[in-house]
């Protein structure tokens, strides 16, 4: 029985293609990739754990690190950290560490690289894990390459607003069933929070994807998969021109896009998924006047 279990455990990650292992045991996701953090996109994920030990997500080589003793005069918002280079130009960065252990530069996934801490700009004891694709110069959502977290909670869709762009009325209009409003160009803003089973109801995170349909037509998709610097701005890839100020009205309110609402009945459908595939949707019918 034990042998079968061992084989199953060995095969599952290979079958599902999890490239990496969790850097901490019993991880609790408290900040998701692309989430609004300190007025910017979070370029990684923030994890809490019952254990302080941090391990590399895969075999690799430490190419840069900073511990209390090794920095110059420049401050380090990432606190104490280590950068591990893996195959295919992937870097994993472990930040806000208390201690950094670099007795050798070559690491396997079993070699402790540090302990979780509070160094640098962070809100509590946590590990900030960043995945950087050095070849394509983009930050990747680490959840894409890590084993799944057990989470059955659906994302919560809160208030939905229209903000007039050329109607002369820039105040927020809450979108409710049966709403009647005059035609024009509106920005659609939606409040979304995703709660994870293991994080309780205290640490919401960003969803993994947001889709908007107008009268059945898919008008906008936002995916928190990767971030890349384009023309001096960090842009959420495959999500339109989503820079931070274009996507976030406030930390939990997303600017889905700007749409020209023509007169007639309009069906607004919003579908939101978290990384584990839990989905919430909301359909609202409104009437647009001349």
């Amino acid at each position: 029985m034990k042998k079968i279990l061992f084989i199953v455990m060995l095969v599952i990650p290979v079958f599902f293609g999890y490239a990496f292992q969790w850097p901490v045991s019993d991880p609790v996701l408290v900040t998701s990739f692309g989430e609004s953090k300190f007025g910017n996109f979070s370029k990684g994920i923030e994890l809490q754990s019952g254990s302080d030990d941090v391990f590399p997500i895969d075999t690799g080589e430490v190419v840069f690190y900073r511990s209390g003793d090794s920095g110059g005069g420049m401050p380090s918002p990432l606190g104490n950290f280590a950068v591990v280079q893996h195959e295919r130009g992937i870097y994993s960065i472990y930040a806000h560490l208390d201690k950094v252990y670099v007795p050798n530069y070559l690491f396997t996934a079993k070699d402790k690289i540090g302990t979780i801490g509070t160094t640098g700009l962070c809100e509590g004891k946590s590990l900030f894990l960043i995945l950087l694709d050095g070849e394509f110069k983009q930050y990747i959502n680490p959840l894409l390459s890590l084993p799944p977290l057990l989470d059955l909670k659906k994302p919560r869709i809160g208030h939905i607003y229209f903000v007039g762009e050329n109607t002369g009325d820039t105040k927020k209009i809450e979108v409710k069933e049966g709403l009647v409003l005059k035609g024009g160009v509106y920005s659609i803003q939606v409040e979304i929070k995703d709660f994870n089973d293991n994080a309780g109801n205290y640490d919401p995170t960003a969803p993994f994807s947001i889709s908007l349909y107008l009268n059945g037509e898919n008008r906008k998709n936002i995916k928190f998969e990767s971030l890349k610097l384009e023309d001096g701005n960090m842009v959420l890839q495959n999500s339109g021109d989503s820079t931070y100020p274009k996507l976030y009205a406030s930390p939990w309110v997303y600017k889905i896009g700007t749409f020209d609402l023509s007169p007639g009945d309009t069906r607004i459908e919003l579908a939101v998924k978290d990384f584990e595939g839990n989905e919430s949707s909301q359909i609202i019918k409104i009437t647009v006047l001349e």
Partner: protein
């Protein structure tokens, strides 16, 4: 000619042709000492204080009258002669204060400030963007990098930024890129250290692994060109301290328990055994000494070297973090709870 006369002429010829002046001797004499324990602010009326920071303390001192203002560091402090920001680890605003401790500005931003070469910068929360602010705290420009910043060095007119994966980028005072270099040797192009001299004519870069190279760029009419390159025997994978002497004739970098000093004209490297982890190096110029502070366990070792490599003086103080600067009248050192001045007398 008699034997006596011949001997005299030979001695005279030796003195004229081969003789060298006697080495000057330096002696250190106690100046003043300030105990930084206890309450913070001391005095506010002294103009032009010299900033210091070490061991959880920061403030300003007058070369003649010891400490004129001091306080404890919250999490970090950025300071220059015009003022300081004492910040906590997490912040949503940075408060600018004058050397007397008066609030002079407020900046609604989350990041860590870094003051260097009379300029004021902010690193954003994940260390991938650099902004410059003016004296009042208004953001002048922001430059975002595709990977994290590993080192920053500024002059009055430029700033050189080393990165994890994008080489070195040089920006002008408006944040516009004026030069970039991406190492194409070794197995990684990480920049481990960079320094810019005061007139932007030279850039020192330590970059790469296997090999890790020391590169000296010099400004030519066609832009910056590598004028000196050397594989470093000791490769380190953390930020390496580097800088230039005040007159630009020397560049230096930390090299394990040594300070390595490159003569930028003769392109020769001289090593000075600092004995521990280098914390500060002060190299005024060719006709002065090389001053260093290094940590050896729980002790800070302060040394002065002649350019021939000879250690002229050494003193130690308990502590793990140090401060070191120099002016024409003496050496100002800090370690543990004490800031002290030693008058340096040439004989």
């Amino acid at each position: 000619m008699s034997m006596y006369k011949l001997s005299f002429l030979l001695i005279l010829a030796y003195i004229v042709l081969l003789g060298r002046p006697l080495e000057r001797e330096y002696s250190l004499e106690p100046g003043w000492v300030s105990d930084l324990r206890g309450e913070g602010a001391v005095s506010t009326s002294e103009p032009d204080g010299v900033p210091f920071r070490f061991s959880g303390h920061f403030g300003y001192f007058s070369p003649q009258k010891a400490v004129i203002f001091h306080d404890n560091i919250l999490y970090g402090t950025a300071l220059d002669r015009q003022g300081f920001i004492n910040y906590s680890s997490i912040n949503s605003a940075l408060v600018l204060q004058s050397p007397e401790g008066m609030v002079s500005g407020r900046l609604e931003v989350t990041g860590y400030p870094y003051f260097t070469s009379g300029r004021r910068f902010i690193l954003n929360s994940d260390g991938t963007a650099l902004s410059e602010m003016n004296q009042e705290g208004a953001i002048l420009w922001t430059f975002r990098f595709s990977s994290m910043i590993t080192d920053v060095s500024a002059s009055r007119t430029s700033v050189a930024v080393g990165t994890l994966n994008s080489g070195i980028r040089m920006l002008d005072t408006s944040g516009t890129e004026i030069f970039s270099y991406k190492p194409d040797f070794g197995k990684i192009n990480t920049v481990y250290g960079t320094a810019l001299n005061s007139d932007d004519s030279s850039i020192l870069v330590i970059s790469g692994l296997e090999p890790q190279k020391l590169l000296l760029f010099s400004k030519k009419s066609s832009g910056y060109r590598i004028v000196y390159s050397r594989n470093l025997e000791n490769e380190y994978r953390f930020q390496r301290q580097c800088g230039f002497s005040s007159d630009g004739s020397f560049a230096y970098f930390d090299n394990g328990s040594y300070l390595s000093v490159l003569n930028t004209v003769r392109r020769q490297i001289k090593e000075f055994p600092v004995g521990g982890t280098l914390q500060h190096a002060v190299i005024p110029g060719l006709h002065d000494l090389v001053f260093t502070s290094a940590r050896i366990g729980d002790v800070i070792s302060f040394s002065g070297f002649g350019f021939n490599g000879e250690r002229i003086f050494n003193y130690t103080s308990r502590g793990r973090d140090s401060f070191l600067t120099r002016d024409t009248s003496g050496i100002y050192s800090g370690a543990g709870e004490y800031l002290f001045k030693l008058d340096m007398v040439k004989r």
